[in-house]
C-alpha cells in the first residue's frame, strides 16, 4: 500500500528544495556580478602567450602553473560578493539535501526505488546534478559555477512538478527488476555529471571567445564581462574533460547494463528500440568527444561543441523519446 502522508511530505520537500534553489540562484548571481579574476583576462592571455609554444604543448604540465593566477575571487573576506557566494553555496547544499529527502520519502511511501516514471527520474536527475556540483565544490572553489548549475536544476524541477507530476504508485511489471537499481542509477549519475560537464564546456566557449578576441586585438565586449569572472579557458576545458572522461566508463556501463536488462525482459540484448538508439548515439558522441580532444584541429572549441551535442542527445532521449516516440520503454507515467 502507498503511504499517502509520506508521499505528501515528499511533494512538500520538493517545493522546499525549489525555494532554496531560487534563493541560491539569486545569491550566485549577485556573487558572480561582484567577482573578478585575480589576474585580469588581458594579463593572463598575455602571460600564457609568452610561455614558449614548446612548453604549451606540454599540455597539462603548463596548465598546472598557469592556473594559479587565474583563480576567481569575489572580493575580500567580508565583501558582499563573497557573502552572497557563501549563501548560494550553503543553500545549494541545503536544497540538495531537501531534494534527497524528498526522493527518499517518495521511495519509502511506495516501498520501492523511487525511479519508476518521468517525474521520479526528473527529481533524481536534478539531485544528481546538484550533488555532483556540491561534491566537486568540496575540494575547490566553484562559486562562479553555481548559477550555471542551479538554473538547469530549477528548470528540471519546474518541468517535473508541473508537466510530469505523477502520484506515488506501484511500478509497472517491466520495472520489477534489480536492474532498475543498477541501470537507472548509473544512467542518472551520468546525466547529473554530464550536465555539470556541459555547463563547463559552455562556459569554456565563452572564455575561449573572449581570450581569442584579446589575442586578436579585438574588443571583448559582453563575453569579456562574463569571461573576466571565470577561470581561464584552458582551465575550464580541462575540468570539463576530466568530468567527461571520468563519466564515460560509467555511461558505457549504464548502456551495457541496460542491454543485460533488455535481454532478461524482452529476449534480446539490443533491439534498436528508440531509447536504446539514443543511448547509443549519446555514447558515440561522447566517444567522439574523447577522440576530438586528441585530434589536432579538433581540440578546444570543436570538442566543446561535441560535448554540448552529447548533452543534447541525452535531453532528446529523455524528453522526445520518452514522451513522443512510442517504444518498449514506455513508462513515463505521463498521459
Amino acid at each position: 500500500m502507498i503511504n499517502e502522508s509520506l508521499a505528501h511530505t515528499s511533494n512538500i520537500l520538493v517545493y522546499a528544495a525549489m525555494t532554496g534553489f531560487v534563493v541560491a540562484m539569486v545569491a550566485f548571481a549577485i556573487s558572480l556580478s561582484k567577482s573578478r579574476r585575480i589576474e585580469s583576462l588581458e594579463d593572463s592571455v598575455a602571460r600564457t602567450n609568452s610561455i614558449s609554444p614548446a612548453a604549451r604543448l606540454g599540455g597539462t604540465a603548463t596548465l598546472e602553473q598557469a592556473t594559479v593566477s587565474t583563480a576567481v575571487t569575489d572580493g575580500d573576506e567580508r565583501g558582499a560578493g563573497r557573502r552572497a557566494g557563501n549563501i548560494g553555496m550553503s543553500l545549494t547544499w541545503l536544497s540538495t539535501l531537501l531534494l534527497g529527502a524528498s526522493i527518499l520519502c517518495r521511495g519509502i511511501s511506495a516501498h520501492r526505488l523511487p525511479w519508476g516514471n518521468m517525474y521520479e527520474f526528473s527529481l533524481a536527475a536534478g539531485f544528481a546534478i546538484s550533488i555532483s556540483y556540491c561534491v566537486l565544490s568540496v575540494k575547490r572553489d566553484l562559486r562562479w559555477l553555481g548559477l550555471f548549475i542551479v538554473v538547469p536544476v530549477l528548470l528540471d524541477l519546474g518541468i517535473a512538478t508541473t508537466v510530469l507530476y505523477t502520484d506515488s504508485e506501484d511500478l509497472v511489471p517491466a520495472l520489477h527488476s534489480y536492474w532498475l537499481a543498477i541501470h537507472v542509477t548509473a544512467a542518472t549519475v551520468c546525466v547529473g555529471a554530464f550536465s555539470v560537464g556541459a555547463a563547463l564546456s559552455a562556459l569554456y566557449l565563452v572564455a575561449e571567445r573572449a581570450e581569442s578576441r584579446i589575442l586578436a586585438g579585438l574588443e571583448v565586449g559582453r563575453t569579456g564581462a562574463l569571461a573576466n569572472r571565470l577561470p581561464s579557458a584552458d582551465r575550464l576545458d580541462l575540468m570539463a574533460y576530466r568530468i567527461h572522461a571520468f563519466m564515460f566508463p560509467l555511461w558505457t556501463f549504464a548502456v551495457i547494463s541496460g542491454a543485460i536488462w533488455a535481454e532478461a525482459a524482452w529476449g534480446r540484448y539490443w533491439g534498436w528500440d528508440p531509447k536504446e538508439t539514443w543511448a547509443f548515439i549519446t555514447w558515440v558522441i561522447y566517444a567522439a568527444y574523447l577522440h576530438a580532444r586528441v585530434t589536432v584541429g579538433w581540440r578546444g572549441r570543436k570538442a566543446a561543441y561535441i560535448a554540448l551535442a552529447g548533452i543534447s542527445a541525452i535531453l532528446v532521449n529523455y524528453f522526445v523519446v520518452n514522451i513522443l516516440i512510442p517504444g518498449l520503454h514506455s513508462y513515463s507515467g505521463v498521459k
Partner: protein, 501 residues
C-alpha cells in the same frame, strides 16, 4: 600520377587516421537517428505497413532508402564496417608499438628540467653518484620504471593506461564479431498461446520465425510447454488507474518429448530458459469463446478466438471465420473486458481487467475469400464478397439468433492468452564478456595517469650539487604535482638540502 599501390597506401593512411575515425563516429551517430524516428521492421512491422499505406508516395521512397530497416541497411553496415576497419588498422600497429615500448627504457632527461610544468630544486652536498643510485632504487620501489643515466634518473609510470586503451578497442572488435556470429547462428520467434493450449518448438507452430543466416531449423530443440493460467493485476483508482501492476504466466514445460512436465512461472523480467532457448513473456490479451451454428443447426465453429488489444484498456478486436457453414459465415468485432456504458465514442473498454466483459460483434454472410489463394490475416475479415446481416452486444452465456434463421452465435465465455518471444543467441555470452573487457579497458585507459619524472644532479663550483626534479604529465589526469613532490621527497631524504647564505 600516383601508382596504384601508392594510392592504396594513401587511402589506408587516411582510413586509419584519427580524423577519419572521428568523422565515422559522427556519421554512425547521425545514421542512427532515422532509426528512432521512423517505425522499424525489426521492432514494429505492422506500423511500417501502416505508414506506407498512409503515405504511399513518400513511404515507398523512404523504404527504398532503407528508412524502415536502418540498422540492417547497406549504408549503415558500410559505416560501421569502415569504422571497424579503421579501428583495426589503428590499434593493431599500436599493439606492436606497445610491445616495443614495454621492453624499452624511459627516455633520457630533457635538457632543461625547469621548463617542465612541475619543478623543484635544491642544493645538497651528498655524493651525486650515491644519490643517483639510491634515488633510482627508491623510486623503483614505488612502482616507477627507472633508468639511470650519467647525471640523471628517469622514471615513468602508467604503462597500463595504453594496455587499457588497446584492450578497450580490441574488445569493441570482439563485441562486433560476437553480435554478428550470435545473430547468424541463432533465431527469434514469437507465438501466442491461449490458456489451456500448448506450444511445441517446431517451425510450424510459430506465428513468426526469423532464423539467422546460418541457422538450420533442424536444430530446433524438441521442447514444449502449455499455458496453464495467465494472471494480470492492474491499479484501481488514482492517476495511473489501469496501469499494469503485475503479470505472469504459469506454464507446464517438458524439456523433451519424454521428460516429465515441470511447473514454471514466467514473468516479465524472468524468462524461462529451456534447452538453450529463452522464452519471454512479451504480451497478453483476451480470447472470447464462441459456438457458431449455421442455418442447418450444425456446429461450424467452437473455439476461443484470439483478439488483439487496441488500447491500454484492452479494447480488443478480432474475427471468427466459419468456412464450413453454408453459406459461409464470419464474425468481426470487439471484446470489451469492462464495457463502457456509453457507446457514443464507439464500443470500448474502460478498464483492462475483465470486470464486466462483453463482445460487440457484427455477423457477415457470403464468401470468406479463403479459396482465392491470396494469403489472409487470421485477424481480419475480407468482407468484399460478404454482406452484413446483423450486429449485436453479448454478455457471456448469451445467445444471438441471426435473422432469417441464418444461424446462432453463442458467446460461451473467454480465456486469456499470452504472447511469448523465443530466442536463441549463441553469441550472447561472448558479447557480455567483451562488453565487460571493454569497460575494464576503458576504465584503465581513462583513469590511469601516464607520467614521467626526472632527477638531474649538476655539479656546482662551490659546495654541493644542484638537484632538480621535474615532471611531465602525458595525460590530463590530475595529480602530477603530488607525484613530483613525493618523488622529490624521496630524493631529498637521500640528498638533504643545504641552505647557503
Amino acid at each position: 600520377m600516383l601508382s596504384f599501390t601508392a594510392w592504396l597506401r594513401w587511402l589506408w593512411r587516411q582510413l586509419t587516421s584519427m580524423r577519419i575515425a572521428l568523422f565515422l563516429l559522427f556519421l554512425l551517430a547521425l545514421a542512427s537517428v532515422p532509426g528512432s524516428i521512423f517505425p522499424q521492421r525489426g521492432t514494429a512491422p505492422a506500423k511500417v505497413s501502416q505508414y506506407i499505406r498512409d503515405n504511399p508516395k513518400s513511404g515507398l521512397f523512404l523504404d527504398r532508402l532503407h528508412m524502415f530497416d536502418v540498422f540492417a541497411s547497406p549504408w549503415f553496415a558500410a559505416i560501421y564496417l569502415l569504422l571497424f576497419i579503421s579501428l583495426a588498422g589503428c590499434v593493431i600497429p599500436r599493439l606492436f608499438e606497445y610491445w616495443r615500448e614495454l621492453r624499452s627504457q624511459p627516455p633520457a632527461a630533457p635538457k632543461n628540467l625547469s621548463r617542465l610544468g612541475v619543478y623543484q630544486t635544491w642544493h645538497s652536498v651528498a655524493s651525486a653518484e650515491v644519490a643517483l643510485q639510491d634515488t633510482a632504487k627508491n623510486w623503483a620501489k614505488k612502482g616507477w620504471r627507472v633508468r639511470t643515466g650519467s647525471d640523471y634518473v628517469s622514471a615513468e609510470r602508467g604503462y597500463a593506461r595504453e594496455f587499457g586503451n588497446l584492450l578497450f578497442h580490441f574488445a569493441l572488435l570482439g563485441l562486433l564479431v560476437a553480435v554478428g556470429v550470435g545473430s547468424s547462428y541463432g533465431f527469434r520467434g514469437t507465438v501466442i498461446v491461449r490458456e489451456g493450449y500448448g506450444f511445441a518448438n517446431n517451425v510450424t507452430q510459430y506465428d513468426s520465425f526469423t532464423p539467422g543466416r546460418a541457422y538450420s531449423v533442424n536444430e530446433l530443440a524438441p521442447f514444449s510447454f502449455s499455458l496453464t493460467k495467465f494472471h494480470a493485476a492492474y491499479q484501481v483508482g488514482g492517476m495511473q488507474s489501469g496501469a499494469a501492476r503485475e503479470f505472469h504466466a504459469d506454464v507446464s514445460v517438458k524439456s523433451s518429448p519424454t521428460a516429465l512436465p515441470k511447473k514454471v512461472r514466467i514473468e516479465v523480467n524472468e524468462p524461462l530458459r529451456v534447452a538453450g532457448v529463452t522464452v519471454y513473456l512479451v504480451g497478453h490479451g483476451y480470447s472470447p469463446e464462441f459456438t457458431v451454428r449455421d442455418s442447418k443447426g450444425n456446429v461450424v465453429w467452437k473455439d476461443a478466438a484470439i483478439f488483439l488489444p487496441q488500447d491500454a484498456n484492452f479494447t480488443s478486436n478480432g474475427v471468427v471465420k466459419a468456412p464450413d457453414s453454408v453459406p459461409q459465415l464470419g464474425l468481426q468485432g470487439y471484446f470489451l473486458p469492462t464495457v463502457t456504458s456509453d457507446f457514443s465514442m464507439g464500443p470500448r473498454s474502460i478498464f483492462p481487467a475483465a470486470d464486466d466483459p462483453e463482445v460487440y460483434m457484427s455477423a457477415w454472410q457470403g464468401d470468406l475469400g479463403l479459396d482465392s489463394g491470396i494469403p489472409q490475416s487470421v485477424y481480419q475479415l475480407d468482407t468484399t464478397k460478404m454482406k452484413r446481416i446483423g450486429i449485436e452486444e453479448l454478455a457471456p452465456g448469451e445467445k444471438w439468433v441471426l435473422p432469417n434463421g441464418q444461424g446462432v452465435v453463442e458467446f460461451t465465455g473467454f480465456r486469456q492468452w499470452a504472447a511469448f518471444s523465443l530466442a536463441h543467441d549463441p553469441g550472447k555470452g561472448w558479447a557480455l564478456l567483451f562488453a565487460i573487457l571493454a569497460i575494464a579497458g576503458l576504465t584503465m585507459s581513462l583513469l590511469i595517469p601516464r607520467r614521467r619524472v626526472w632527477l638531474r644532479i649538476t655539479e656546482t663550483p662551490d659546495d654541493g650539487n644542484l638537484y632538480e626534479v621535474g615532471g611531465l604529465a602525458k595525460t590530463q589526469a590530475p595529480g602530477l604535482p603530488a607525484d613530483v613532490t613525493k618523488l622529490a621527497q624521496l630524493a631529498l631524504a637521500i640528498a638533504p638540502e643545504v641552505t647557503r647564505d
